[in-house]
Symmetry: C2
Subunit: 325 residues, 2 copies
C-alpha cells in the first residue's frame, strides 16, 4: 500500500508514528513543509523536515517534541557571549551538526530534496521524506510595528511563532517565493500514484496550506485518483497542538473542525478533500460538513499515545476505502 | 611602548603571555599567520588567530594548547554519524561557535581583519590582533601520492600537519594565493611605527615565513626604523614545540638556531633580523651568527612557565635596545 502524507512538524510527525504502527508495511512518502525554514547564523534550518526526520529516526527529544534527545546548548551560549542575534531560536549542538551538513551540501549545489535524502540515510527512516520544494519559500507574517505605531511590518514566521509566541495579531500571512516555487522531484508523482493521500492534523495555514500553495501541488491533489482524507487540527475551538487558531484568524477562517474542512473544500467542488475526520466531541458538525460535499466521520482525535494515534490512522484509511471512487 | 609581534599559533601565544607579563603597559599589535586557515564543513577556521585570541582572552585549553577550555565534542560526533569527512580535524562545540560567527560575517562581506576585531571584542584582548591579510592564502604541502606511486600531490597544510603528523616527506611548501595577497589594514603601519618588532619562536616556514611572504610585509620589516629581534624556534636540533624541523628540511634549511638565523638573514644584508636569541646550550653558534651580521645572544629559551617566558621577552627587548640604530 502506497500512502502519501503532507506534513508539518510535530502534529504530522506524531500522526506518522501512529500510521507506521497501524500499517508497518505501507510504503509511505511524506511531503514536508519547508515554508518555515530559516537561515540562522548562516545555517539553513528546516524545522518541519527535521522534526519528521528526528521523530521517525528515533533522535527526537520526546520532552520538547522538536530538536534532539540528549541535546546540549554550548553553541547557543557561545553565540550569546559573542553578542550574536537572534537569541530566541533554540539551536542545540546536535541539531547544529544537521544544519552544518545541510548548509554545506546546499552550498555545494545539491537541491534540498537530495540533501534531505542524504541526511535521512543516517537515520534509516521508515518513510521517504521529500521537501515540498527545492526552491526557497518563506512564510512571513504581517504584524503591527511596535517601533512605528500605526504601521505594519512583515516578520519571518519563526519570529512570530517562536519569539512572539503568536501573541500579537497576525494581519496577513504571506508565503514569500511561493508563486515561483516548483514541487521538489518526486512530489507530484507521490501524490498522483498513491493509494491514499492523508492530511494529518498539521497547521492548515502555515504547514499544509503552504505545501498546497506550491504551484502544481494543489492541482495534483485535486486530480489524483487516490482518496484524500484529512484529520481536523481543531477540537472544539482549540488546536490539537500549537497555535493554529491564530493563523486561521489571520485568513478569516473560524477555529472549528467544520470551518477548516470548508476552507480545504470538497474535491467534488474544486477543493482538496474527500473525507474529514473530526473528534467525537464535535459530532454535531458532521451534517454541515457533509453538506459541503465532504465525507465526515467523528472519531477520537487526541493523539495521546501511539495506540490511539494508530487507531486514528486506521480510521483515516478506513474512510479512504469508503470514499474511494 | 609600541611593540609589534609576528605570530603563529601556540609558540607565538605562549611568548605573548610572557611579553604581557614583562611589559603589561606596552601597546602590542600582533600580526597573525592565516596561511594555515582552512574551510571545514563550510566554516572558515583560523587556527593561529584563534590560538592567540583564546590564549590571551583566557579561553584556551591549557591542556591542549589549542581550542577551548571546557570544550565538548558533540558536533564532531554528529558529523561522524552523518559520515561527513574529514574526521581528523578536531572542531569542538565552543570553537564551532567562533567559526560560525566568523563565517557569517565573512559571507556578509566583512574582511577578516574586521571580523577578527569583532571576535576579539568579546575576549577583551590585551593586544590588537590583526590577520596578516584579508586575502586568502593557504599553505599546501607537496608529498608523495600513496595512491599513485612515483607521483606527488599537494595537500592542505592541516592535512599534512594534523592528519599525517608531518610524518611523510614534505617535498615543497607552497603558500597558495600569497603572491596576490595584500597586507591587512593596519599591518604595514604596525610594522613601520613600532618601537620594536619581535619574531617569537614560531615556525619560521609556515608561520612567520608565510607572514613575511605577503607582498609588502617583508619590505616593511626591512625598512622599519624599529629594531627587529627574533627568538630561535630551535634548541639543539629540535623545535621548541611542534615539527618545524620537518618543514625546514623541505626548504633546505638545517634545524639549528644558527641556520634559521641565516635563513632569516641580517637586515644589513637584505634580511629581516637585527638580533637573535638562542638557547644557552647553543652558545657555540653565537660566533657564526655574528659573522652573518646578526647580533646574537644566548639566554634560557625554554618557555616552561610565565616567569621564564617573561624573562625571555625582557631579554628580547633588552637586545632590541642594544641594537637600536
Amino acid at each position: 500500500m502506497r500512502l502519501t502524507v503532507l506534513a508539518g512538524g510535530i502534529g504530522g510527525s506524531t500522526f506518522l508514528r501512529g500510521l507506521l504502527k497501524a500499517r508497518p508495511d505501507a510504503e509511505i512518502t511524506v511531503v514536508g513543509n519547508t515554508a518555515d525554514d530559516i537561515t540562522l547564523f548562516g545555517l539553513r534550518v528546516c524545522p518541519d523536515l527535521d522534526t519528521v526526520m528526528y521523530t521517525l529516526g528515533g533522535g527526537i527529544s520526546k520532552e520538547r517534541g522538536w530538536g534532539r534527545e540528549d541535546e546540549t546548548w554550548v553553541i547557543k551560549e557561545e553565540l550569546a557571549a559573542y553578542g550574536v542575534e537572534p537569541t530566541w531560536f533554540g539551536l542545540g549542538d546536535r541539531d547544529v551538526a544537521t544544519h552544518l551538513v545541510r548548509t554545506q551540501m546546499l552550498d555545494a549545489g545539491y537541491g534540498l530534496a537530495a540533501v534531505t535524502e542524504a541526511l535521512c540515510s543516517r537515520w534509516k527512516l521508515p518513510v521517504r521524506l521529500l521537501p515540498m520544494s527545492d526552491d526557497r519559500v518563506e512564510t512571513h507574517v504581517v504584524v503591527d510595528d511596535p517601533d512605528n505605531p500605526g504601521t505594519k511590518k512583515a516578520i519571518h514566521f519563526q519570529e512570530y511563532w517562536v519569539r512572539l509566541h503568536a501573541e500579537v495579531t497576525a494581519h496577513q500571512i504571506v508565503a514569500v517565493g511561493s508563486e515561483k516555487a516548483k514541487p521538489a522531484p518526486g512530489v507530484l508523482d507521490a501524490i498522483a500514484e498513491c493509494d491514499a493521500l492523508l492530511l494529518p492534523p498539521s497547521n492548515p495555514v502555515v504547514s499544509i496550506g503552504t505545501i498546497l500553495g506550491v504551484p502544481g501541488i494543489r492541482d495534483a491533489v485535486r486530480e489524483t485518483s487516490a482518496p484524500v482524507i484529512g484529520i481536523s487540527p481543531i477540537i472544539g475551538t482549540s488546536p490539537v497542538r500549537g497555535m493554529a487558531d491564530k493563523v486561521l484568524a489571520a485568513i478569516g477562517v473560524e477555529s472549528t473542525a467544520g470551518a477548516v474542512a470548508r476552507h480545504y473544500g470538497s474535491r467534488a467542488a474544486g477543493g482538496v478533500l474527500d473525507g474529514w475526520l473530526i473528534d467525537t466531541s464535535d459530532a454535531a458538525q458532521l451534517e454541515s460538513i457533509a453538506t459541503a460535499g465532504i465525507h465526515a466521520q467523528a472519531v477520537p482525535l487526541w493523539m495521546t499515545d501511539e495506540d490511539t494515534t494508530a487507531a486514528l490512522a486506521s480510521a483515516a484509511l478506513t474512510l479512504a476505502e469508503a470514499v474511494r471512487r
